[in-house]
């Protein structure tokens, strides 16, 4: 069994040690992909506009800053280096191109066409460095009616039908309240880039990986979407109460108890009826679990609300029924389950400010991947990094 208390591999022992990644991206999906590569051992150098840098530096959420940059910036960019370069200035561009020749991976999320105008599109860059793996993030791919729409998480959730999967029947659209598509897109970019690096070991050649938030949205729903495509292509109807997945039969969902809420996953109705001592539930046949789910869930809800959550857990869990209390963050971080994962790490900026953030969710050889560095000050590594490449003629 893995000892979760172990933490931190020496960086030289990480799987991507020795890999150099240039991160031209801003905000979320691109930088978070680069963050994952950094946590796995790569050297990540952000290339930022002089003066302003990644716009995320000034995107202050909940009024929180660290060393002048938003806490969110540090969350997405911890452990990276920063080079300030004006890609429209020939001398800076020449330096960046020299840097690209030394890199294994580059990532950008400019709108389609921008890198072509700058002269850092895949074809051009491939000529500079045939071994380079080039990752591009967009909102909706390079073509189609939506290609010029902003590639922003909430908007893609709204366009992709995800807002109609959350919440209950009769509610309006309910978006997922965090940037789920940005994070998913980042993960897919990492997968494509790493696969191309594996191929490079065989072929010696780089590759182009393109991901977009809309494809990520479809992928996140692929299970349900496949049902939709093969069913009657009708929008799935959310459950009347406690909806947690429109395609799941009763009792799947969340329920109020006398002192909180609990979740019930898939379970045979007869088992539910027995454990809740409620023959009315058994009156519905298993073949009705989907077609009459609202009626069945109403009966289950009427029973569960009469007793506190723990009362039900004590009955249901030992019987093997899939259930859980619904926790909020204070409840969650106070659990032994949270402590066992040890998912928090402290990062420290150059200026000595500290903040807590989550660690990489991937463990390697039983070790957790941690990196205590904060995000870089804008241009902090410009001289050092450009010092490693030949000056432009």
């Amino acid at each position: 069994m893995t000892d979760l208390a172990l933490s931190g591999l020496p960086r030289a022992d990480l799987p991507l040690a020795g890999l150099r990644v240039l991160d031209f991206a801003q905000f979320l999906a691109g930088p978070v992909a680069a963050l994952r590569l950094a946590d796995l051992g790569a050297e990540v150098i952000k290339i930022e506009r002089p003066g302003v840098g990644d716009l995320c530096r000034s995107m202050v959420v909940n009024d929180q800053r660290l060393d002048g940059d938003s806490l969110v910036f540090h969350t997405f960019n911890r452990g990276k280096k920063s080079v300030a370069a004006d890609l429209k200035a020939p001398e800076d561009l020449a330096r960046v191109k020299a840097l690209i020749e030394t890199a294994d991976v580059m990532i950008h999320n400019f709108r389609p066409g921008v890198m072509e105008r700058i002269g850092l599109d895949y074809e051009t860059v491939q000529a500079l460095n045939p071994r380079l793996v080039y990752g591009a993030v967009s909102g909706y791919g390079a073509d189609g009616p939506w290609k010029d729409k902003p590639g922003q998480d909430l908007l893609v959730q709204s366009l992709s039908g995800i807002a109609w999967l959350n919440g209950n029947d009769g509610d309006g659209p309910v978006p997922t309240g965090f940037a789920m598509l940005d994070v998913a897109t980042a993960g897919q970019l990492v997968q494509g880039i790493l696969a191309c690096l594996v191929r490079r070991g065989v072929s010696g050649k780089g590759g182009l990986v393109e991901v977009d938030l809309m494809s990520a949205a479809i992928d996140m729903t692929f299970e349900q979407f496949t049902c939709f495509l093969n069913d009657d292509a009708g929008q799935p109807r959310r459950h009347a109460q406690g909806n947690a997945n429109p395609y799941q039969p009763a009792p799947y969902g969340v329920y109020e108890t006398a002192d909180g809420h609990m979740a019930l996953a898939m379970a045979p109705l007869t088992t539910v009826a027995d454990l809740l001592d409620c023959p009315e539930i058994a009156g519905f046949g298993q073949d009705q679990a989907f077609v009459r789910l609202d009626e069945i869930k109403a009966v289950v809800a009427g029973v569960l609300v009469t007793q506190p959550t723990q009362h039900w857990l004590d009955i249901l869990e030992p019987a093997g029924l899939w259930c859980a209390p619904v926790l909020d963050w204070p409840g969650f971080v106070a659990t032994e389950g949270f402590a066992a994962l040890d998912p928090v790490q402290v990062i420290r900026t150059k200026g000595g400010r500290e903040a807590k953030t989550s660690r990489c969710p991937i463990r390697i050889d039983g070790r957790m991947l941690r990196n205590p560095a904060g995000g870089p000050a804008l241009g902090a590594d410009t001289a050092a990094v450009f010092g490693t490449v030949p000056a432009p003629a």
Partner: protein, 378 residues
């Protein structure tokens, strides 16, 4: 050449998280061999949602397992165990999602497998990690969501917990595992070292919430607050959210209030918003904006405001996305043939891997694999 051509994945996992990781590797070019129990196979074969099924197996099963090979092995018998060992000896990647401890008892844990196949890349997914009092709990998506705090981020104030209505923990954990496996394959090619990659539904859920959790851990644990209506992000200032319109709904992303107010072209609105703080007064600001946005259909707002550079979108259903989304959407959806399917979310060298339609019949490849890998058909 697909990036992972020549890579063989032996997948002992079932349901979604593990098989999703294997599906991504498959789309990237790997060969995936599913090991299933002879009794009924992957439980997902019988997990019908919305009562749709194809060829006796659930639609869901085909969505998750398209293009894979299937062999049934009873790992508790000597013959089944021997066959599993033969497969592992020639595998590049092994994936398993048994409850913690089970695979070790079966004698096919990382240590044992790495002895059979030095340099093996081995991936394990659990619900909640391998230690602690949650380790033995069922690693099911909704239950992991319930425990992770994520249910308080969606929906509106006063609404109670609102789960994400799709298996987000499974898919995110599968994606994390795929990333770790690929990083390990990269290292294996360079150094020959094997790796054990582990993640869990709960770690993936924490990672999904990392932007929020970092804020919360640093702000004295002031929780994000959902709005009364149209909430979409508990820490972001107005106008971020979803608004009712005369017809349909409009999602509006982050932007300076003055920018939106100018684009809406209502001088009275600018006056009403003057002096209001974008974060502290977001409920009041939302009400003022709602009064304006309710006067016209969402489609009109989307057209007018987008033309002025405002970040907004009319909320679509799936059917609308499918007809209006163009190649970005249709490239992901393959509706021809016996079974419509969803393709990989990435393009490699300009092309999206074309998905085959269906998953394997239980033990469809048993005999062929037995010949190829040299074990007795079981």
């Amino acid at each position: 050449m697909r990036p992972l051509e020549g890579v063989t994945v032996v997948d002992f996992s079932q349901f979604l998280a593990g098989p999703y990781a294997a599906l991504r590797l498959l789309d990237l070019g790997a060969r995936v061999i599913k090991i299933e129990n002879p009794d009924r196979g992957d439980l997902c074969r019988h997990h019908y949602v919305s009562e749709t099924c194809v060829d006796g197996d659930s639609t869901l099963f085909h969505a998750i397992n398209r293009g894979k090979e299937s062999v049934t092995l009873d790992l508790k018998t000597e013959a089944g165990h021997a066959a599993a060992r033969r497969l592992i000896e020639r595998a590049d990647v092994v994936i398993q999602n048994f409850r913690p401890g089970v695979i070790d008892r079966l004698g096919l844990g990382y240590e044992a497998a790495a002895t059979l196949r030095p340099g093996l890349v081995y991936g394990s997914i659990s619900g909640y990690g391998e230690a602690g009092e949650w380790a033995g709990l069922p690693g099911q998506d909704l239950l992991a969501q319930a425990r992770s705090g994520v249910m308080w981020l969606s929906g509106n104030r006063g609404q109670g917990p609102v789960p994400v209505g799709l298996p987000i923990a499974d898919i995110a954990a599968g994606a994390c595992l795929a990333q770790g496996l690929l990083a390990a394959l990269y290292r294996q090619a360079r150094t020959g070292e094997g790796t054990h990659v582990q993640t869990s539904l709960l770690e993936a859920l924490i990672d999904l919430q990392f932007e929020f959790l970092t804020t919360w851990l640093s702000n004295g644990q002031r929780p994000p607050e959902r709005l009364q209506h149209g909430s979409a992000h508990g820490y972001l200032a107005a106008p971020y959210g979803v608004y009712d319109t005369a017809e349909g709904h409009l999602a509006v992303a982050m932007m300076p209030l003055a920018t939106l107010s100018d684009a809406l072209d209502r001088p009275s609105l600018a006056a009403q918003l003057a002096g209001l703080e974008a974060f502290a007064d977001r409920e009041a600001i939302r009400e003022r904006l709602q009064e304006v946005l309710i006067t016209r259909p969402a489609a009109e707002w989307e057209a007018t405001l987008s033309a002025k550079g405002i970040w907004c979108a009319r909320v679509r259903s799936w059917a609308e996305m499918r007809t209006e989304g163009g190649p970005a959407v249709t490239g992901m959806l393959h509706a021809g043939g016996e079974l419509a399917r969803v393709a990989a979310p990435f393009r490699i060298d300009g092309a999206r891997p074309m998905p085959v339609a269906r998953g394997p019949v239980l033990n469809e490849h048993g005999a062929a694999l037995a010949r190829e890998f040299g074990f007795d058909p079981v």
